[in-house]
């Protein structure tokens, strides 16, 4: 029997706003399967986003949903989680939202190891504003504000998250659709900041400027560059040139922020 996504979708809110060929819908379906697998109570689940195409995702979910301001999702989510630690708090958003304007909040959420699961849909571009380059746009790529090719170096979101202190970091792609739910579910179950980077595609504002002739071409790129962590261990640096590791990249146990704060409360109350 086909999977019933509708039980988690708000009645009357589809169709979504995303362009044909955009991977965000694939991520949303993976997220729904993950939420289901974790048996989340949607009344006690907050899904928080910033601004941009990906940030419209929460509105489609029948949970406590919070569409905030550009870049600030992690900080809003921190407030929700801190005030009500019993809630499950998920953040969804794009690469520009999370790592440019939201970069400070992103790294500090990771540093605190607060128990939120942050899903970054990395399509290497600002889609909603018309295809300007983001911190994740490949150097040399074309964007509406890089008419001579992108001069900027790019961020590796997963490495950034690990460096900043996230205790669960995983990467998937919109092509590997059946893996997304497992990575997200593991992130939700992890106690601490979990970052799941999903390499995504934007055929409308990235693909057409960068000689991807079809959505299929963009998906093929995701298929070709992805190498599972286990497979990569057996490959030479030459073979890994231009590839991106997928799967669980990092996992460690470290005290979670809101749990630490319960100790502050106990101390203040004379325990």
């Amino acid at each position: 029997m086909a999977y019933d996504y509708e039980k988690s979708i708000r009645p009357g809110k589809l169709p979504h706003i995303w362009c044909p060929g955009c991977g965000h819908g694939i991520v949303m379906k993976g997220l729904i399967r993950a939420m289901d697998a974790c048996e989340l109570d949607l009344k006690n689940t907050a899904v928080v986003s910033g601004i941009g195409c990906a940030s419209r995702l929460p509105g489609y979910l029948d949970a406590c949903t919070l569409h905030t301001a550009h870049g600030r999702a992690a900080a809003f989510a921190t407030g929700v989680k801190m005030a009500k630690p019993e809630m499950t708090v998920l953040v969804v958003g794009g690469d520009g939202d999370g790592t440019a304007i939201g970069g400070n909040h992103f790294i500090h959420a990771c540093r605190r190891n607060i128990d939120i699961t942050y899903i970054v849909m990395n399509n290497s571009i600002y889609g909603m504003t018309g295809g300007q380059f983001s911190p994740c746009t490949p150097t040399g790529a074309m964007a509406s504000t890089t008419p001579y090719g992108n001069p900027d170096p790019t961020f590796d979101i997963s490495k950034l998250a690990i460096g900043a202190g996230a205790t669960f970091v995983a990467r998937g792609t919109a092509f590997h659709a059946t893996q997304i739910d497992k990575l997200i579910a593991e992130g939700i179950r992890h106690k601490g900041t979990a970052v799941i980077e999903i390499l995504d595609d934007c055929p409308t504002t990235y693909g057409r400027r960068n000689k991807f002739r079809s959505v299929v071409d963009m998906m093929k790129r995701l298929k070709d560059i992805a190498v599972p962590v286990a497979a990569a261990a057996k490959m030479t640096p030459e073979q890994l040139e231009g590839k991106v590791l997928t799967g669980v990249l990092f996992k460690e146990e470290r005290p979670e922020y809101t749990e630490q704060y319960t100790q502050v409360i106990a101390k203040a109350q004379g325990a």
Partner: protein, 377 residues
């Protein structure tokens, strides 16, 4: 039993007022001269099971404030001028999404880093016009440590009642002066909690004006699932660009304040009955103005003071009446002309409006005011 009396700074009185009001969440970022608010609450909040978080920047603090407020917390953030500038976008978010929260701005000198430890009243217009878009604002400007305590309680009450951000406009003098504060007993001051929805979760619409001008706000995690956004929206919280819905939403959010001025406005009138010259003064400056009124009266000059405690919305009606009654209104302010613009606008030329501005980090002293009154009359 005698009431608890403590000698404390204005900032400390603010923190204790917040606790009295039921504040259980503080998010902030350190900035002089507001830091004592955070310091006291970092110590006191966990004692009552509340939460204190020092965020990575000013914007994050306001974001966390709004996130916490959505879970039902009574949330406070304290900052000073440049920090307030950074918070402005999210203040606009709290306005349009109608999230109750309180932000304290302890005003300091100069734009940018200016004079970080010097007093000023130079963010008065920022409190009304700092954020973007059409919106209402409520800002309170107390003048003593006792009043800071009580007005902090009222700021929370107004935030909860009108479902919006409320600003406390302190100035550095009030924030750092020490005075005895008598703690009110529990129940002595009114404490208002936001209205919770009574409809079934499946029927709940967070912006449904058929439930009144201020629709009840459900807390995240209380069984109600709904959507919050900074976009213009319909009653169910989902984005809309339908002209009539956007127009109705914008107008309702301003009307909920402007239709309730009797409840929101608060001021002190001192020796105004027969006043020929009115000193329009607020915050610490009003203390010099009060002294000046007393001195002038000794000389037979009919002076009085109007002290707005609610500075926004502006007390238009009463100031217009005073403009008709008096020969002159004089506005001493620690800025180069902010609230005097409102007095001039409202007076419409009915009397002389004169400004005393000072931005050198020194308070306006009574002698300056007395001299100006004599010049003008």
């Amino acid at each position: 039993m005698a009431k608890k009396v403590a000698l404390m700074q204005g900032n400390e009185a603010c923190a204790h007022g917040a606790l009295y009001a039921g504040c259980n969440f503080f998010a902030g970022y350190p900035i002089t001269p507001s830091t004592e608010v955070a310091e006291v609450l970092s110590n006191e909040l966990p004692k009552v099971g509340g939460k204190f978080i020092q965020m990575e920047d000013e914007i994050a603090a306001t974001a966390a404030l709004i996130g916490a407020a959505l879970t039902g917390a009574k949330a406070l953030d304290a900052t000073s001028g440049p920090g307030m500038s950074l918070k402005q976008e999210l203040l606009g978010y709290a306005c349009i999404a109608e999230i109750p929260c309180v932000i304290v701005n302890v005003q300091r000198g100069g734009p940018s880093t200016g004079m970080p430890t010097g007093p000023s009243q130079s963010d008065m217009q920022q409190a009304m016009w700092g954020t973007h878009g059409d919106h209402a604002a409520i800002a309170l400007s107390p003048a003593s440590c006792q009043e800071i305590f009580e007005e902090t309680v009222r700021a929370f009450n107004l935030a909860e009642k009108y479902r919006m951000p409320v600003q406390l406009q302190l100035d550095e003098i009030c924030a750092h002066m020490r005075e005895p504060v008598t703690f009110p007993e529990p129940g002595e001051l009114e404490v208002i909690d936001r209205e919770a929805p009574t409809v079934a979760p499946e029927d709940y619409k967070p912006y449904d004006d058929s439930q009144g001008q201020i629709p009840p706000l459900a807390s995240f995690g209380s069984g109600y699932r709904y959507h919050v956004t900074g976009l213009n929206k319909a009653a169910d919280g989902f984005p809309t660009t339908k002209a009539e819905l956007v127009d109705a939403e914008e107008r309702r959010q301003i009307a909920k304040v402007m239709d309730n001025l009797d409840d929101i406005l608060k001021n002190e009138e001192y020796q105004l009955e027969d006043a020929e010259v009115v000193l329009f003064a607020y915050g610490s400056t009003s203390r010099s103005a009060r002294y000046a009124v007393n001195e002038l009266r000794k000389e037979g000059i009919k002076a009085g003071m109007f002290r707005p405690i609610t500075v926004w919305p502006f007390p238009e009606q009463r100031v217009a009446e005073l403009a008709d009654q008096a020969k002159a209104i004089i506005c001493p302010e620690m800025n180069l002309g902010q609230m005097v613009r409102e007095v001039e606008r409202v007076a419409k030329g009915a009397c002389i409006v004169s400004h005393i501005g000072r931005v050198d980090g020194e308070p306006i002293n009574p002698g300056q005011i007395i001299d100006r009154v004599k010049e003008v009359l």
